[in-house]
C-alpha cells in the first residue's frame, strides 16, 4: 500500500503556519529583551559617575574600594566615606541631596551589583591586586564610564580593549592565567573549590 504524508500536511497546514509564526515571535521577543534590556548597566539608586570621580578628578580606585588589596571582595565605600567629601563638594546637586538623605537616615545605599561572578567561582581581589593586575583589565575603562557597564560576549569577540570590559567568562580568566603562566592557574580547583 502506498502511504503519503502529503494529505496529512495539507490538513495540518494552518497549524504549522501558526507554529512557525509563534516561533518567530519567540526569537524576536528574546532578541528584543537582549538588545534593549541587557541588564548590563542597571539604573542605580544614585546616578553615580565613575567618569567624574575616577576620570576627571583622578581619584585612585582604592581610595574608595579600600579592601581590594586585602580582602576577597573589593567592597563598596561606606556612606560615611561619600559624605566625607560631599559635605563640602557639590552639595546642591540633586543626586548629592539624595546621598545626604541616605546619610541622615543612616541607611545604606542599595547599589545594584554589575560585576557578579557565580557562587561556584572563588575569586579573590586581594591576590589579583597584589599581583599588580590593573582593575581595568577585568572591569574595563571604568574611568570613562558614566554608568558602569558589564562586558558582553560581543565585546570579547571584538577584542579586549581597555575601553570595554571583557565578558566575565571562564575563557577570559584562563587566557590571562595562561599568558601570565600563573602557578596552578589552569587547575580546576584553583577557582572552583
Amino acid at each position: 500500500m502506498n502511504v503519503s504524508i502529503v494529505p496529512a500536511l495539507r490538513v495540518l497546514k494552518p497549524a504549522v503556519l501558526v507554529g512557525a509564526v509563534a516561533f518567530l515571535g519567540l526569537v524576536v521577543g528574546y532578541w528584543a529583551n537582549a538588545a534593549f534590556f541587557p541588564g548590563t548597566s542597571p539604573q542605580q539608586p544614585i546616578n553615580f559617575s565613575h567618569k567624574i570621580h575616577a576620570g576627571d578628578y583622578e581619584i585612585p580606585c582604592m581610595y574608595c574600594h579600600t579592601n581590594a588589596r586585602r580582602s576577597i571582595s573589593a567592597g563598596v565605600p561606606s556612606v560615611n566615606k561619600c559624605v566625607g567629601c560631599h559635605n563640602e563638594v557639590a552639595t546642591e546637586r540633586p543626586q548629592i541631596r539624595k546621598l545626604m538623605n541616605y546619610w541622615h537616615n543612616k541607611e545604606p545605599i542599595p547599589w545594584i551589583k554589575v560585576h557578579d561572578l557565580p557562587d561556584f567561582v572563588h575569586f579573590t581581589h586581594k591576590r589579583h591586586v597584589q599581583a599588580g593586575i590593573e582593575c581595568q583589565t577585568c572591569h574595563g575603562a571604568v574611568e570613562t564610564m558614566d554608568v558602569i557597564t558589564l562586558g558582553t560576549a560581543a565585546s570579547k569577540t571584538s577584542g579586549v580593549t581597555l575601553a570595554s570590559a571583557p565578558a566575565m567568562k571562564m575563557g577570559v580568566c584562563l587566557d590571562c592565567h595562561k599568558q601570565h603562566e600563573v602557578e596552578n592557574g589552569l587547575d580546576c580547583w584553583t577557582c572552583h573549590k
Binding site: 494552518p14 503556519l17 501558526v18 507554529g19 509564526v21 509563534a22 516561533f23 518567530l24 515571535g25 519567540l26 526569537v27 524576536v28 521577543g29 528574546y30 532578541w31 528584543a32 529583551n33 537582549a34 534590556f37 541588564g39 542597571p42 579600600t66 579592601n67 586585602r70 580582602s71 576577597i72 571582595s73 567592597g75 563598596v76 565605600p77 561606606s78 556612606v79 560615611n80 566615606k81 541616605y102 546619610w103 543612616k106 541607611e107 545604606p108 545605599i109 542599595p110 547599589w111 545594584i112 551589583k113 557578579d116 581581589h125
Partner: protein, 764 residues
C-alpha cells in the same frame, strides 16, 4: 496569501504576540538575578568585609576546656577549630566542639528576659526588660539579706571555673549563703575521691597516654567521653603512630565496647562492677611473682592475699591466663599506664575500684613518670569546679531542704537537674516548694520551664571568661575566653548579671568590678605581676592583648621529681567489695549500662541538629534512642532489631527500639544518655528516651555520688516495631575481608610492625 481569512489572520497575530511575549519572558527568566551591594553607613572598626578574623577562646561544650579558634567574617562566627597554641586541644577539636556554632545560632535560644505569667511549668511567659527582671530578683535578695536570711538563697550552676567560679563564691559569701552548688551528671566524683585517698591530692593527675607503651583502661572511654577526649585522642594517635619504633598497645576492660574499646588492641569484658577486683587480681599476681620490690611488699602481699587469680577469675569472668598475661605485660612494658573511670567508677564500689587502679600504677612505678601518671600543679589562677560539685547525696539534701521550705530563692545557671537526675530523686516536685526560681540559661530546658524569672545569659561565644582546664597538662596553664561576635540577642553575660545584682544589693565593696571583663583583668594582673622577666618592658595592656591573641597562658616548668609512697593506712584501705545492684536478678535479669553519648554528652547537645544527625560512632544510629543487646540474648528472647521494648527498672520504665550489638555482654543492656528531652527546643523535644530517669538511687558510699551503672532492669517486648534510622548496613564482615585478623603469639605481637596496615592482633 491573498485568500487569507480573517479568522486565520487573527490566529496568526495571536500566535505571534504570544511568541514574542514568551521569548521576552524566557530571556528575562534566565538573567542573573539582581544582587545588591549594601555599604555600611559607617564602616565598623573591628573588621574589613571579606577579611577573615580568627579569635581564640575556650570551648564549654564539655568540662575538658579545649582551646578553640573561631573563624569570623563580617562579625559573624563561621567555623570553630581547635586552638593550636592550647596544650589541651593542640589545634584539634571534637564534633561536639565544632557544633558550638549551633548553640550560638540556635533558633530556640531565649532572646530576652521573661517573666512567668501562667501556672508554674505551664510554659507561659511574657517578655520583660532587664531592669524589671533584675529588680524582681534583686529586691527579693535584698530583703532576705537584710533579714539575715541570705542562706535561704541557693545558686545551682553547671561546672564553671576560673573567675566566674570565684565571682559566684564572692557573691554567695556576701549574701551570707553557703548554698552554692555546681552540678553536672558526668562529674567524676569517684575519680577525685580515689586520687584523694591514694595520693592525698584533690586534683586529677595528667595521664600521659602520649608516651606510654601499654595502656590498661578499666571502663574509661577516654576517646569518647572520659574527662578530656580530644587530648586523649592526640595522645592515643601519637602512642600508636607517632614513634618510629614503638607502637603503644591499648587494652580496654568494660562490659560494653565503647569507642575506645573499638580502637583498642584488645577488648576484655569483665562482669560489671568487678573491674577493681580484676585490677587487684593483677596486683596480686605482680606482688606474688616478686615484680614489686618495695620495702612494704609484705604489707601489700597481705592486703592482696584474698585476690588470688582463681578467686578473681571466678568473680570477674576473665580467664586466669588472661589475668596473668595482662599483669605480666603491664610489668614488662615500660612505661605502662592504667586508667579507670566511666562505667567502672559508677558502681557502688567505684572509689575502691579506682584506688585499685592507682595501686596498679604504683606497684610498677608509673607514678610521676613520663608515659605514666604525672601530678598536676595547683591552679595558678582562679577557681576550679570540683570542690563545689554536688554529688547525688548533696542534691538529695538540697531537695529535702527545698521541700522543708528552707530555700526561698534558687538561681540556676545552665544546669538542668530535672533532666539529669533520676526520677527517684523527686527533684521537680522539690522545686515546686521554692517561692522564686531564677534561671540564667540560654535555652528553655526542663528546669528553666519551672522558673519564675528568666534572665538569659550569653552563649560562650559571646561572653568573657577564663578557664583552668581539668585535668591539667602537668604544668600551670590558664585560658581566657572572649566574645567572638557581638551578642545576637538581648542577653547578658552570666558574670555581668551577677555583678549587676551585686550592685543592686549594695555589696559593691567586696565586688568592685562593673563588668566581667574588668573582673578578669583584675585577676590576670596578678599573673602579670607575678614576675615574668619581661614585666618591665611590657605593659599590662600589651600583656592582656597578647593573652587574648593567644587565648592561653602557660608556664612550662620542669616538674620536680616526685617520689611517692602510699601511707600504711592507705594500703590497708585497699580492697574491692562485690558491686551492689538494686533489684533482684530474678525480677530484673539485665544490668543497665547507661553511657555518656559521644554526641550529646549528658544531654546538653541534644538541641543541636548537627549532633542529632551525626551517626553514633559504633551503631551509626541518628536521631533517636536505642537499647543495645547481645544478639545471642535477643535470639533467646525471640527479639529482633527494631523491636520496641520497655526497659523497666524498680524505679520507672522507658521505651526504645532494640539494637543488636555483638560487643556487649549477654547479661548487660546499654543505652546512650542524652535523648529523651521533654523540653529544650524543637530538635531535642520528644525524641528518644532518657535512661537517667529510671536509674536506681544507689549511692557510692564514700562520695555520695550516684552509682549510675548499678541499676538492674528487665526488658519487656511491646510487640510493636520501628525502623531504626541508621547509616550502617550490617556490622558483620561477611567474608569480605574488610577487617583482617591474624593469630599471633604474644611475643611475636611485640615485634610486629603494624603501623601501616589495619590488622587486629588476636593474642592466643
Amino acid at each position: 496569501m491573498s485568500n487569507i481569512e480573517r479568522r486565520e489572520f487573527l490566529k496568526l497575530v495571536g500566535a505571534g504576540s504570544v511568541g514574542v511575549g514568551a521569548g521576552f519572558a524566557l530571556r528575562e527568566s534566565i538573567k542573573h538575578p539582581i544582587e545588591h551591594l549594601i555599604p555600611y553607613p559607617v564602616p565598623p572598626e573591628e573588621f574589613s568585609p571579606g577579611v577573615v578574623t580568627w579569635y581564640n577562646t575556650v570551648c564549654t561544650m564539655c568540662a575538658a576546656g579545649c582551646g578553640i579558634s573561631v573563624r569570623t567574617r563580617e562579625g559573624r562566627a563561621k567555623k570553630i577549630e581547635g586552638n593550636p597554641l592550647h596544650p589541651v586541644s593542640q589545634g584539634r577539636l571534637c564534633a561536639l566542639g565544632q557544633a558550638g556554632l549551633q548553640v550560638l545560632y540556635n533558633p530556640d535560644r531565649l532572646t530576652g528576659p521573661l517573666l512567668r505569667t501562667g501556672k508554674r511549668g505551664s510554659g507561659s511567659f511574657e517578655q520583660t526588660t532587664w531592669d524589671e527582671g533584675l529588680a524582681q530578683v534583686g529586691d527579693r535578695l535584698d530583703l532576705l539579706r537584710a533579714a539575715g536570711r541570705g542562706n535561704r538563697v541557693a545558686l545551682l550552676s553547671t561546672g564553671v571555673r576560673g573567675h566566674l567560679a570565684g565571682l559566684f563564691e564572692l557573691f554567695m559569701q556576701q549574701l551570707g549563703s553557703e548554698r552554692l552548688l555546681h552540678y553536672d551528671f558526668g562529674h567524676p566524683h569517684t575519680l577525685y575521691a580515689a586520687h584523694r585517698r591514694f595520693f592525698g591530692e584533690e586534683r586529677l593527675p595528667y595521664y600521659d597516654l602520649k608516651n606510654t607503651r601499654y595502656l590498661l583502661s578499666f571502663g574509661a572511654d577516654y576517646l569518647g567521653s572520659w574527662i578530656s577526649p580530644v587530648h586523649h585522642a592526640l595522645g592515643f594517635g601519637h602512642s600508636r603512630q607517632g614513634r618510629p619504633d614503638v607502637r603503644g598497645r591499648f587494652v580496654q576492660i568494660e562490659p560494653r565496647m565503647s569507642l575506645s574499646g573499638a580502637a583498642a588492641d584488645e577488648w576484655i569484658p569483665a562482669q560489671p562492677g568487678t573491674e577493681g577486683i580484676l585490677a587487684l587480681g593483677m596486683a596480686h599476681h605482680m606482688v606474688s611473682e616478686g615484680h614489686y620490690r618495695g620495702d612494704d611488699r609484705d604489707h601489700w602481699a597481705a592486703v592482696l592475699a584474698p585476690y588470688t587469680i582463681n578467686q578473681v577469675a571466678a568473680q570477674t569472668g576473665v580467664a586466669t591466663a588472661t589475668i596473668t598475661r595482662l599483669a605480666d605485660t603491664f610489668v614488662h612494658s615500660d612505661p605502662s599506664l592504667a586508667i579507670g573511670g566511666g562505667g567502672a567508677g559508677g558502681h557502688s564500689n567505684g572509689v575502691d575500684t579506682l584506688v585499685a587502679v592507682n595501686a596498679l600504677n604504683y606497684l610498677v612505678g608509673n607514678i610521676g613518670k613520663t608515659g605514666g601518671l604525672v601530678f598536676n600543679p595547683e591552679p595558678a589562677i582562679g577557681e576550679v569546679s570540683h570542690p563545689r560539685q554536688a554529688s547525688y547525696r548533696t542534691m538529695l539534701e538540697f531537695a529535702d531542704d527545698a521541700r522543708q521550705g528552707n530555700i526561698e530563692v534558687l538561681i540556676l545557671n545552665n544546669t538542668n537537674p530535672v533532666f539529669t537526675l533520676p526520677g527517684a530523686a523527686g527533684f521537680s516536685k522539690a522545686l515546686a516548694e521554692i517561692p522564686l526560681i531564677v534561671s540564667l540559661s540560654s535555652f528553655m530546658d526542663e528546669t528553666t520551664t519551672l522558673a519564675d524569672v528568666i534572665l538569659p545569659s550569653h552563649t560562650y561565644l559571646e561572653s568573657w571568661g577564663d578557664d583552668i582546664p581539668e585535668p591539667g597538662v602537668g604544668f600551670p596553664i590558664g585560658a581566657v575566653s572572649q566574645p567572638v561576635v557581638a551578642p545576637l540577642y538581648n542577653t547578658r553575660g552570666t558574670g555581668d548579671i551577677i555583678l549587676e545584682l551585686a550592685q543592686k544589693l549594695d555589696i559593691g565593696d567586696a565586688i568592685p568590678w562593673r563588668t566581667m571583663e574588668e573582673c578578669l583583668q583584675a585577676g590576670w594582673r596578678k599573673i602579670y605581676e607575678r614576675g615574668a622577666p619581661d614585666t618591665s618592658t611590657m605593659s599590662f595592656d600589651s600583656f592582656w592583648t597578647a593573652l587574648l591573641k593567644a587565648g592561653v597562658w602557660g608556664e612550662k616548668t620542669q616538674s620536680e621529681q616526685v617520689s611517692f609512697t602510699p601511707a600504711k593506712n592507705v594500703i590497708d584501705s585497699i580492697g574491692v567489695q562485690a558491686p551492689e545492684f538494686s533489684g533482684s536478678s530474678d525480677d530484673y535479669p539485665f544490668i543497665l549500662h547507661p553511657y555518656l553519648s559521644t554526641t550529646f554528652h549528658d544531654g546538653r547537645a541534644a538541641n543541636l541538629p548537627w549532633m542529632q544527625e551525626l551517626p553514633d560512632p559504633l551503631t551509626s544510629v541518628v536521631y533517636g534512642s536505642w537499647v543495645e543487646m547481645n544478639p545471642a540474648t535477643a535470639t533467646q528472647l525471640g527479639l529482633t532489631e527494631g523491636e520496641l521494648v520497655d526497659v523497666e527498672s524498680p524505679h520507672g520504665r522507658i521505651r526504645a527500639p532494640l539494637y543488636l550489638y555483638p560487643a556487649i555482654m549477654p547479661e548487660v543492656v546499654a543505652m546512650p544518655i542524652g535523648q529523651g528531652h521533654f523540653e529544650y527546643g524543637r530538635y531535642a523535644k520528644n525524641r528518644g528516651a532518657n535512661p537517667i530517669e529510671i536509674l536506681s538511687p544507689q549511692l557510692e558510699p564514700h562520695t555520695g555520688g550516684l552509682a549510675w551503672s548499678a541499676t538492674r532492669v528487665k526488658i519487656v517486648a511491646t510487640g510493636k516495631r520501628v525502623k531504626i534510622v541508621k547509616t550502617g548496613g550490617t556490622s558483620r564482615d561477611l567474608g569480605r575481608g574488610i577487617v583482617q585478623t591474624t593469630g599471633a603469639k604474644l611475643g611475636a605481637a611485640h615485634g610486629t610492625k603494624l603501623n601501616s596496615i589495619p590488622i587486629t592482633v588476636v593474642s592466643t
